[in-house]
């Protein structure tokens, strides 16, 4: 996310140069993580941070803040950013559409409907209890999108249309339900902006398997997607099983994005913009662009969460809001300066 990563030469570059930049980005990630652990409404010194991580004292308020509040947020934002970045890279490669966003597969819409039903029917108001309905709703909606989009024969255009239709339908249902209950609206309004406020270590733990499986599938799909980006026929000519590749990529997107929306609500924009920055630094090869997307995504969301925490005195601007506030100008600048990289 530093300016230096954006001033790279545009043409494809040697692996060494990419490694250098990936290293730089990882270093930036470390520095940002330290900042995220040390900054906040409560002043904490180095000793507190070190103490909280190595010899945790459950009665020390500073330790509690670092270990139980800032650390889960940092990990949550990092994981969610990496997941959104990777799933964004996958869906843009799969649909060969630079405007594709993982939300297009109906995952956010399904999760939102699940959450609203959960608030309305079960009376749940604690976001920590939303994770399974959000995940379930997201998975169900994306399965529906895949079926409508033609299953393993899905072509990109049909998939996007099916996703848009299902998302619109679920959003309309969600809004209709919200009209009925003011209280549901209050809880939902907070959830839908997306953020890492009050995220629990237990939530991270239970979602980690989904994220890991999603990341593995993403890497597997990456091999086929490289060929698929050359076009359906070329890919087939190269011996790639296109239907299978799309299915694996789809499953990876759904797992990554579903786990993220369950963890933090629908976070706008990260999945759209991060792959653009990543491709700019990494070139079009899907393997590199996945790795860069993961690191840049984590950087973006950790920065967004940190700035959101510091932006308002004592208050809290949710990471989902900050992502769009930071990401929007960056994307505009990128497009105006260099144009969008072809997919």
């Amino acid at each position: 996310m530093t300016a230096s990563t954006l001033t790279l030469p545009r043409q494809s570059r040697s692996g060494d140069l990419r490694l250098l930049w990936l290293g730089t980005a990882l270093l930036a990630l470390c520095l940002l993580s330290i900042a995220a652990l040390s900054l906040g409404a409560r002043a904490t010194g180095w000793a507190d941070i070190w103490g909280a991580l190595t010899s945790y004292d459950p009665n020390n308020a500073d330790h509690i803040v670092v270990r139980n509040m800032r650390l889960p947020r940092l990990i949550g934002a990092g994981l969610a950013g990496a997941a959104l970045g990777m799933s964004g890279a996958l869906i843009q490669a799969m649909t060969r559409n630079p405007l594709a966003d993982p939300g297009l597969l109906g995952i956010n819409g399904g999760a939102a409907l699940g959450v609203v039903l959960c608030i309305l029917v079960l009376g749940v108001t604690d976001p920590a209890e939303f994770i399974w309905v959000a995940l379930g709703g997201g998975l169900a909606a994306s399965v529906l999108v895949f079926l409508l989009g033609g299953g393993s024969q899905a072509n990109p255009l049909r998939l996007i249309l099916a996703g848009a239709a299902v998302s619109a339908l679920f959003l309309a249902l969600t809004r209709a339900l919200l009209l009925v209950s003011r209280q549901t609206l209050d809880v939902y309004r907070f959830w839908v902006l997306g953020g890492f406020d009050g995220i629990l270590p237990a939530t991270l733990q239970s979602l980690l398997p989904f994220l890991i499986l999603g990341a593995l599938l993403a890497i597997i799909a990456g091999f086929g997607l490289n060929a698929l980006m050359l076009g359906e026929d070329t890919a087939k000519g190269l011996g790639v099983r296109t239907g299978f590749t799309r299915l694996i990529a789809g499953a990876a997107i759904v797992l990554l994005c579903g786990a993220t929306v369950a963890m933090a609500g629908p976070i706008a924009f990260a999945g759209l913009i991060v792959p653009h920055i990543a491709r700019w630094a990494a070139g079009p090869a899907i393997g590199w662009s996945l790795a860069f997307s993961a690191v840049f995504g984590a950087l973006l969301l950790i920065a967004a969460d940190l700035l959101g925490r510091l932006a308002l005195f004592g208050g809290n601007m949710q990471a989902g809001v900050m992502t769009a506030l930071i990401g929007g100008p960056v994307l505009i600048w990128l497009v105006r300066r260099n144009g969008v990289r072809k997919l």
Partner: protein, 359 residues
Amino acid sequence: MKQGDPRQNTGAARSALRPSLSLSRQNWRQAAAALLAVFLLGLCPLPGSADPFPAVIDHRYGTTTVLAKPTRIVSLSFIGHDFLLALGERPYALRKWYGSDPYGVWPWGHDALGEAQPVVMRGEIDIERIAAMEPDLIAAQWSGITAQQYALLSQIAPTLPPRAEDGDYGTPWQQMLLRLGTATGKRTTAEAIVTRIEGRFADLRAAHPEWQGASAMMAWAGHTRAYTRADIRGQFLTALGFSVQDAPDGQNALNQFYIEFPAEDPSAMDVDALIWLDTGRNVEKLARMPLRHTTRAYREGREIYADKLLSAALSHSSPLSLDYALDQLVPLLEAAVDGDPATVVSSTANAGLLAKGGS
């Protein structure tokens, strides 16, 4: 739409005025009889017998005149139906706030509601639907109506928004009741209720010198934001003598009914009596609040967990719910404010939220 109605009304008013301008002999006789009636009424010593109508009420959007006793009241206020019921007026339609009751009326209002089955409105204000109800009074304090909505609603029927000096949801219960009393011709009843309940608060203040000036706060369980002095829940605590924090300077104080504290440093919430409101769903969220067990309120047993019913009673702060709220809360406050963990706050203990090591 019923926008034709007001014009008809003004037409009727004009024709009623006309005879007194061009007086025929017959009209003279009528006028004399009317004068005599007014004179005789004035002589009557019965309290409250003076015709309370037309009732004129000032508010933030101007002045509302209620010409005759309303019989078809549409209540847009989320808590206002409680106040109407306290006056013995059953609203024709009401706006449900929350809760499992189909009419949105909580247990303290059930007797007063009786067998009545008011029309229930939910969500946003539907002006067309209200017009179709042909109301003769629209009670809209604590409803959040805008000037634009008022302009439309007041063409349907006399509409009662909050006072200019109160926020959307900050009208004190006394004013809510007195103004509805004026609008429904029951000012005397309203005054009697206000006197009785204020007396109860005064007795409690006198009986609890230790509460006077002690700090207290109401917050939703698990959240680091609390109601200000301007909110009706803050007003409740102030009426018992507690000191309640105000919104920070420079913020719009009228509608600033809560203050947000940083989750990392909620030390300002560490008051002499901390009341956690809840729908009954957030005990776990409260139990895992990261810094809660480092506070004095937690260690010294100064936290009060308010269950669903008590929280709703406090949030309604109506003449019907205040008695219930006081019955429930006063013993809890007594156990909390003494700062001795040995005197257990029963509701907090029942929710399993007491400090470990406390008895």
